[in-house]
Every structure is written in C-alpha cells, then in structure tokens.
Symmetry: C2
Subunit: 696 residues, 2 copies
Amino acid sequence: MLDKLFDPDVVAVIGASRTEGKVGHAVLKNLLQGAGHQVIPINPKVNEILGLKCYADVLDVPEKIDLAVIVVPAAAVPSTMEKCGQAGISYVVVISAGFKEASLEGARLEREITAIAGKYGMRMVGPNCLGIIDTSSSLNASFAASMAFPGNIAMMSQSGAICTVTLDWADRIGVGFSKFISLGNKADLAENDFLELFMKDDSTAVIAAYLEGVKDGPRFMDVARNVTREKPVIIVKSGRTAVGSRAVSSHTGTLAGSDAAYTAAFRQSGVIRADSLEEMLDYSRAFSTYPLPRGKKVAILTNAGGLGILTADACHSIGLSITSFEEETITKLKQKLPEAAGLYNPVDVLGDASPQLYEHALEVLLADPNVDGIIVLVSPQAMTDVPAIAQSLIKMVKTSDKPILCNLAGGMRIAAGEEILNQHGIPNYPSSERAVASLKALCDYSSIKVKEHTTPVTMPVNREAAQKIIDDAIANGRRTLGLESLGLLTAYGIPVVQSRMAGNLPEAIAACEEIGYPVVMKIISPDISHKTDVGGIKLNLVDAKDVEHAYLTMMSDVKHYMPNAQITGVQVQQMVTGGKEVIIGMDRDPQFGPLLMFGLGGVYVEFLKDVSFAVAPVNDKEAQHMIASIKTYPLIAGVRGEKPSDIKAIVDTLLKVSQLVMDFPSLAEFEMNPLMVMPEGKGCLAMDVRMTLRNE
Amino acid sequence: MLDKLFDPDVVAVIGASRTEGKVGHAVLKNLLQGAGHQVIPINPKVNEILGLKCYADVLDVPEKIDLAVIVVPAAAVPSTMEKCGQAGISYVVVISAGFKEASLEGARLEREITAIAGKYGMRMVGPNCLGIIDTSSSLNASFAASMAFPGNIAMMSQSGAICTVTLDWADRIGVGFSKFISLGNKADLAENDFLELFMKDDSTAVIAAYLEGVKDGPRFMDVARNVTREKPVIIVKSGRTAVGSRAVSSHTGTLAGSDAAYTAAFRQSGVIRADSLEEMLDYSRAFSTYPLPRGKKVAILTNAGGLGILTADACHSIGLSITSFEEETITKLKQKLPEAAGLYNPVDVLGDASPQLYEHALEVLLADPNVDGIIVLVSPQAMTDVPAIAQSLIKMVKTSDKPILCNLAGGMRIAAGEEILNQHGIPNYPSSERAVASLKALCDYSSIKVKEHTTPVTMPVNREAAQKIIDDAIANGRRTLGLESLGLLTAYGIPVVQSRMAGNLPEAIAACEEIGYPVVMKIISPDISHKTDVGGIKLNLVDAKDVEHAYLTMMSDVKHYMPNAQITGVQVQQMVTGGKEVIIGMDRDPQFGPLLMFGLGGVYVEFLKDVSFAVAPVNDKEAQHMIASIKTYPLIAGVRGEKPSDIKAIVDTLLKVSQLVMDFPSLAEFEMNPLMVMPEGKGCLAMDVRMTLRNE
C-alpha cells in the first residue's frame, strides 16, 4: 500500500523552477539529492533545469511517472491534476497552498481536485503541505531545508511549520526519522492511511504525530486500536480549548467541552497523548531507543544527592515507584562504592564517581529483579569526567534489556558528553523530570500493548419498540422526548421507575393511587430543564391530600418562576429510596460520534465536574473503567463498611445505553439523571431521562 | 549586615594548597581572579603559594582578616575555628565536608564548631559547602569551576552539586548572578539570613533557591513575607514525598503528608514554588529580564499557526487568558500584514514574515490596553531570517513596559538567533509551554506583591479557663481530651452543642431529659476514634425508650467490634439539623508548627481528600482563602438557589482555633469534626472535638 508514493522509480516535479529560493527549485534539488529514483522537471517555459531535460507537460514524458509533486499556483492545480490522471500517475503530492485554509474559493478548488483524484484513482497528499520524506528509500519530495537523518521514528504533522521546527530540532541533536509526512489539508490521504502504512513499515518502530483534528473519528479509533498493539503512537492534539460552536444544553455537552472526546478516543485506542511538542519528541526518542520496561519500579543512580531527591519526587508525582533493592544488590554495591555513598534508592555514587563506578553500580542495579528501569543522573562536579561516563553509559544502554534514561545535568561541562550520547542515538534528557516522564511513557505503553480490546457484546433488545417511539415523536414534531423515553429504556432492557403522566389534578391522584404511595411528582414542560430550580419536583407524597397540595403549589411556583413555560402536566413516580444517584449521559461529538458520560448524580456532577467519558460503543471493560475512574468512585464501591452499590448493574446499563445510541443516530442527546443504583445484587432503576432528537 | 562576608578587604584561605586539582588550590585561584580584596594563603607546610606569602597560622597574619575560607579536614576545623576567633575574624566559610551529613561524629563536630562560632560572634557559612560568590564585589570564595557572570539573580542552594549544575547551565547561556551561595549544612547562617540580605542588596532583583528544608519555619515565614513584598522569591523545595517518621492518627496529619506545610507556608508568605530546577531557572530569568504584567491577558504573535494554537492551549490550561483586541489594533494590524494573516489572537504573521513585520505587529499589540504580556513564537521557515528577528525582538523587549517572552522554536536554524538573545540577556524559552509558564509566574507575582499581610486579630477569650482544662487533663495523666474539650472551645468563644456525659443508662436518660429531645448518643472511649464504624453513634432519639434501646444496642455492638476497648460511658447531645458539616483540624508540623486544615465533613474529607491547609496564626483573609479553596466550596457558598452557609461564622471559628493552638503549644492534635454550619447569619456549632496533648 502506498509503496510507490514513498519509493517511486520516476518522480515528476510539476512547477519545477530554475530560480533558487523558489519552492519549485527547492523540491527538485531535494529530490536530486536522493537515490534510486529518476527526477523529471515539468515547466513549459524552460528546456532544462539543474542539468535535467525539462518537459512542458506530464503527458509529454515518455517514462511512466509514479509520483508527481505539484507546486503550481492553486488555480492551475485542477488542470494539472487532470493531466496527471490522464498520464496514469498513481500518486500526487500537492505542495501548493491557497485551498481550504485560505478562502471559500480555495475550499471549492480543494473539492474539485479531490474529485479529480478520485476519478482517476490517484492518491493525494496535501494540498498545502511541505511534502514527504522517506529516509529508507532516500526520497525527499519536500521543500524542507534539509533531509532528515535516517531513524526509526515515523512522523506526520498537520502543520508544515511544525514539520520544519521538528526537523530543525532533530538536526541539532541527530535524531533520525524513517518517514516524515506533512499532511497539509488532508483532502485525500490522512492520518488513518499513514497510521496503517507505518504499522506495516519495517523501518518504523515509533509513530509520532501533530494533529489539529482527525478526519474520520470512528475509523481512527479502529485503525489506532490495531496499530497501538504493534507500535507506540504518540500524538500531540492541539486546540484543546477551542470553544465549540454548537449550542449545548445537556450536562454531557457542557462538561465534555471540545477535548473530552479526543482524550477518551486516544485512551480507548491506546494512543499516548503528549501535551506538547517537547513531550512528543522526548517520548518518541525514548521509544526509539529503549526496550519496554516490565513494570514501574525505578532505580535512580546519581553523583549528586540533591538531583536524586528531585528525581525521586518526580517519579512519585507521576506514578512511578522508587523500588527497594534485593539484599544482594546492597551487598554488591557496598563492595566498590565509597563508604559515604548512598546504597539505597536513589543510589548516590558521590561527586567524584568514576566511569567505572557508574558502570559497576549500573551492572548491579540491572541485575536486580526489582528494577524495571533506571534514571542515571550526572552532574559535572570537580572530578567528574563527563565524556568518559557518557561512553560507559552508551555501552550499558546498548546491551541492557531494561531502559536506562540519562540526564547529564548542566551546560558547558556536559556538552561534550551530551554530544557523545547524541552521536550514538541516545537521548540526553535536559532535565530529570523529562527523563522520568519519558520512562513513564514507556511504562504506559507496556500496559497498552497487552491490553485486550474486546468487542462490545450485543444485548437482546426490542429495537422495533424503540424505533416506534422515536418515529412517533418525529411524526408529532417533537424534538425533546419526555416520559415516553422511559418506554425506550424499557425496550432496551433498562429497568425504569413506575411512572404515569397526568394532565390535571384528578388524573394525577388517580395515577398515584395506581402506582401506590409514597410517590414523587414532577412538572412536565418542554421549556424546563432544571426542574428543582422552579419548584417543579415534590418528594414523598403519602396520600391524595399530599398530592393535591403538591400539585397546586407546584403550578403556582412554576408560573411564578417561568410564566411563559408551556406546561403539559405532571409526572408521578414511585418514590425510591436507599440507592445512590448516578448519571449516564450521551452527546454527539462532531468527530467521534456518541460520547458517553458517567458520574455521580447531583452536586458531584454539577460542581465537582467529577465525570468520565468514553466514545461508544463500549465493552464491559471500558464501562467498568468509566465507573472506576471518577474520583468519587469510593462512594459507589462502598466506604466505611457501607455495602457497595450494584456496579454490575451500572455496567449493564452503560452497555445498553451504548447500544441504544449506536442503533439510533437520530438521538442527539441523552441523559439519564438520576439512575438510582441499589446495593450490590439489587440492580438499578432509571428515575428520569431526557433525550433530544436531531434536527432533521 | 554580612557586608564584609561578601565584600572583605582581606580573605584568608586556611588549607590553601599548591597542588592543582585540590580544593585548597582552586579556592585560592578563584579568589585571586577577583579584585578589591587581598588574599592570604594559610598552610604551615609551605612559604609561598601562587606567588603569595603563605602563613602557618591566621594568628601570624599582621593584617586584619575579614573572611576566612576553611578547607582543612573536618577534624582540624574546631581548632582552626578557635584560632579564627582569637584572630578576631568575623566571617568563616567552612567548605570542609565530613560533618552532620557524614556521621554521628561529624554531627558532634558540627555542634562543636557552631558553638565556637557563637563564642566568638563569628558568622559561618557551611560546613560542607561549595563556598560563596559575589559578582558585584568580584569575590569568588568557592571551588566552583568558574566565576558566575554578573547579573541580578541571587541564588542559594542547599546542595553543592545543584550549585555546580546551575552555574554550568548559566555559563552556557550567559545567565548572570548577583550572589551565589552554597548553603551546605546551614549550621549557622541559613536561608533566612540570606533572604534578608538579598532583600536589601541593590544588585539583586530576583531571589532563587534550592532547599531541602528550612531551618526555622516561623521565622522563615516572617522573613519571606517581608522579602516577597520587595522582590520575587522562587524556591524549589525537594523531598516532597519523603514519608514522615512520626505516627499520625488524625485526619489532618494523614492528609497533610510531609509537604502540605511547605506548600501552605510558601503560599502564605508569597514565595513562588517551582517544581523543578528548570522551572526555577526559567522563572528567575523571566523576573530578571521583564517588567511585571498588570494582568493576565496575553497576546500570542507567531509565524506558524500550529505553534500558535499549542501556545493558546498552554495559556488556557495554566489560567492565562487569550485576550481580545481593540478594534483599532485589528485595523492597524491589517494595514501591514498580508491578507491571509491571522489578525485575531493568536496573531499569525505567516511563514515568510520579515523582522519589520514582527516589529510592526509587536508595536501594535503593545499599544493595546487589553494586552498585559506577549508570547512571541518564531519558527525557522524557508524565508525566516531568525537572527534579524532576534535583533528586532531585543529592541522591543528592552523598551517595552510589558513582558515579551520569546520562543525561537527549532534547533540548528534558530541557534544563531538564540545566541543573539542570550548575548543581550534575553531568554529564549526552548518551548512555548515554558515561556507561558514563566509569564504565569510573572502574573502571579504581580498579585503577591500587592497582597496585604494583615496581622491576626486577637479575639477576647477566657484563656485561664482553657488552661485549667488542659492542666487538669495533664494532672490526670490523660493525653486524649474527650467531652471536656468542648469546654475548651467554649472558653475560646466557639459555640458548642449542648452535651452531657453519662456513665450508665440512668444517667444517660437523665441527661437527655435535661437537654431535651431529640438527642444523639455517642460512645466515649479513648480507644475508639471512628465511632461510626463500631456502631458507636445513634441519631434522633426522641424519648427515654429510644435512649434505652440505643444504649443497650451500642454497648453490645461496641463490645462485638472492639472487645478490648475501654468504655468510659456515653455522650448525649442535642440533635442539630439543617446545617452543613465541616471539619477543622490542626496538626503540628516539625518545621512550621501548627498546621490548620479545613474541609467539608464526612466523605468529602475522607475520600475526596478535598481539604486546604494554612500555617497558624492565620488572619481573616487567610481563613477565607482556606474555605474558598476547597473544590466543594460551592456546596458551602450555596448552589442552585440554596442559602449560603454562614461562612463568616466559619472564619470566626478558624481564627479562634488558630489562637487556641498558638496559645497552647501542648495541644499536639486538634480535630473539630463536625462543625455544623448553619445558613448565613445563623452561626455554627461544634458537634464533636478531639484533642491530643503532647507527650511530655
């Protein structure tokens, strides 16, 4: 797949230029510096560029062109693409800008060239990109200032400038890449395609990406789930805080913001999310260099006590454990370390430690089964031979089956040592905190790699009954579903509270007598979403007199607070006690679709914002994870001898809601609030639910 | 104060050596490279070192020595110090190691030399330190590998290696220091002394420190409160996660850990806490270079969209606001910026932006009253002249009254620009996130500087009555105070629930009749701290029959759960409803003394660990801050139209508890749980309290 894109025999540069400084010149020059491919410039105005015969048109070229790099002005791209299609070219890289990113006319042009590519079965990178680089095939089809060093990191970026920054950073410290792709506007080929490619690419061990969005959320999750089983994927996703333009009325929508779906989707599909370019590159280098640790038990080796303590602090705060050593380890360390040395973790070999001492200590620590990974700290003290220690570290890093992350700390006097590490492809993390964070990423991926991705079970449901309720609502022009949506839950096997609707007081009393006391009464109005605020909920009504009083007060209160609200009637329900209130919600994310939310009800959701998210469909593991990852989980799991709540019943409900929102894309918003969860074994009961249908 | 320590006329090096590589040689050489002071080597074995006449003894030196730097072996330090004292030397810097840090014998030696210093009124730096540097007096009384560059940052470090690392780092990028102090074991002079010195030191604008602890917590807070009003103080405090060795039994102790007191003390005294050396140095450079911003409104200027978005994300996540511009700003930007440029925040001058364009945009942004600070991003794209842009930035930074923080992003191709910035003392933050964090530190200090430090008001209390209760307890050999401690609260004007103790059932019934129903009954036992867990609390008893049943059940339950618990009787209390339960606790921190804790009661404290801390004594502002800074504060402040709780009454109670624990150092632990807070204006009521007296 995409083989000839990255390893073409013949490449044409359409818009090649003789003028230095022009993109059409830079691309040509970069391509010529590669090997294994013939390069053909296309430009109707000249006969020769850089010693190569220049053609006016791809259709004039006798050779079969595999890849065309297009650098003509945007307006000329459609006709150029047409010719490429006629010439039977399989791949184009459209570097030209002036498309979707620039104007409405640009967006139209972009749709046009995408259609042309589709018509001829051409695959396209870009438009509006820097180009692509493949170090294993020696292809630089970009206008980057220099060729990337060879390496095992595949990188793709939705921003050309971030390609430039990353390549320039990598050049300074000698970090290499297998493939480097500027995604541009992703009109055709996008992150999903390249993820699949990178997975199968033998020269790639680590995948890094800067993304501003994904093109197809559900497919991204499918692809990423597969890829992350094989290779680590580290992504910086920017735009965390962009305010969504949609109006949101549900808790889920409000609490999710624009980033919750990405966070959930990345977590669910095993993607490691980096918070900055620095983190992305730090982690990528770690994966590029080190074997995966078996666990989270860290040894710290230092020649400076203070640095050791700071590093231990960093490990602790990030969730790595400062391991305890075997008795034998201490004994062996004692044999060669000076008397004042620190033998316990952090191991302090003292300020005058020789390379041999570092090596000895490292050997001993590596042999300890309680050590999964090591952070080595070197401060340039009076007697410290930093370059020699760097040499020792190389030897140890290259032969060890455990990761050894280094922080030569300082400036001038560690520069030579740093250079030596870089030359051998070993990162020197500029701070111990960054080494620790990178080790944590290695540990996280160790867990991700072995994580099972079970497919959701399909529950037996009465889909037809649910369909009918929705169809009726649509037929009646209703967007917000009230009491009838409890019937929808019943159709999906979710137990619901006994409940009746009543249009007036006599009906209300009759309904209560039917359900049996005590009951709860709630106002029904399409205009009121927070019923409590307007006196629209009355609890614990024990007889008809209570019901009458409650009804009259409620009507007067509601009219007082919201004089214009349209009131359909009241809902009376059996009063349920002894359970815990939780909330299950769903909001449609524009990228990933149905985003489920779980939280404890009431104040916990509204004021502590203590909720968790997952993209549907979820399986039981993911449902359990959602429940267990809220901070107030102990309140559900049972505290102080209190019985645990029926977590199995919540999982079951989450799975059914997941299935419901997958089955009915017309459900735009869903909120079950509260779902009353009884003690273990006693199930749960949906008390209230609110659904909104999509505006068709 | 300490003038001649940093600007001596005559300095002696005791233990000076001819041998290169020896500390006694390095110190001498460093001193000789300075100016304005005469240097005298002391060594009984030689007559001359480095061309200087060498004396056998300080007592032989005819000149009046101001400062002696001691590098003799630890065992010889006491006799050396005696001679220094006899010679009338005012200051010694003891570089020699082998003291408290090494062994018990070393600790004894350290006490000995401290006593000698005290006897002669000598002030001592160290022992076990690297020495001191003062760039304004041209003094390098250390064995550091090089002299620090001059600058306005004063730095002190409790770790010699961290001095080395910092100096070496600073050398590489040209960061300068006013004074540089290796604190060593802090046997005499410590952080508090130097903080006071730095405050008055004209050459110092910023104070940075690496500390592993403070010598005198309360004095530290007093001093730091004063200093931070004048100059920013940035401290890395390591050992966050060290497990305290004391056994703790209270909530406050358990939740505080070893770090809460430092966090609280730093916050209360205006110290900016850095989480890593990198942060400390980043922030220090920002303070060293920039004026303080008036607010938190940030403009981002970039030549790369992607970097701009990442930077906006970083601002948002750290609490800086991405400002909106005046209409005029947009108009002026539009005049010179290309059509495709981004005119709103972030301002994107596009990839080919010239230095002039950067300058124009900066001028316009600086003129906007909605801009308090600017982050400038430069990516090295094809047409980017990074060094020229760096030159423009220097001009703007130097003349602006708003901070402009720079991130030239990349490696090779920004190196020259970075070098230019460094040469002009302007930091290039290697990532935009670090620039943003540093700008945030500037903003934080803007608030700290103007913060009022009111002294706690003294409340009218009956101290004698309280004293008597404590004396009685001590006289009776009781360490844990039960019901009688409610009397202690009453003495301090804290309203307490009506309550009686009863030794048997008839007494219990009589007490209840006296208080009036409904009542609550609680077990009293020195062995039981969590009464609920053992059935030791019964609520809502409405008559004598209820009381009898509750009493019998409780006794049987408690015996079942804790057969060996000693039971003193029961406590009966008026039953209070309609309030919110909060908890006020106190634990003695070894460094800072009484550490107050506040939180919502019950599950919030135990499972959400949602509590706040402050070192007593607190004033009303600090008490208010404690209350407002818990996450569940909205539940107290009133949510969803619910009446707010009586926050004034909580503040009042916190102030009284603060006074109580200050007045009685013998109170080791204090926990009021719950304090029932009624709605606004209705006060609060202590429901239960537990105090532990110090083991004398």
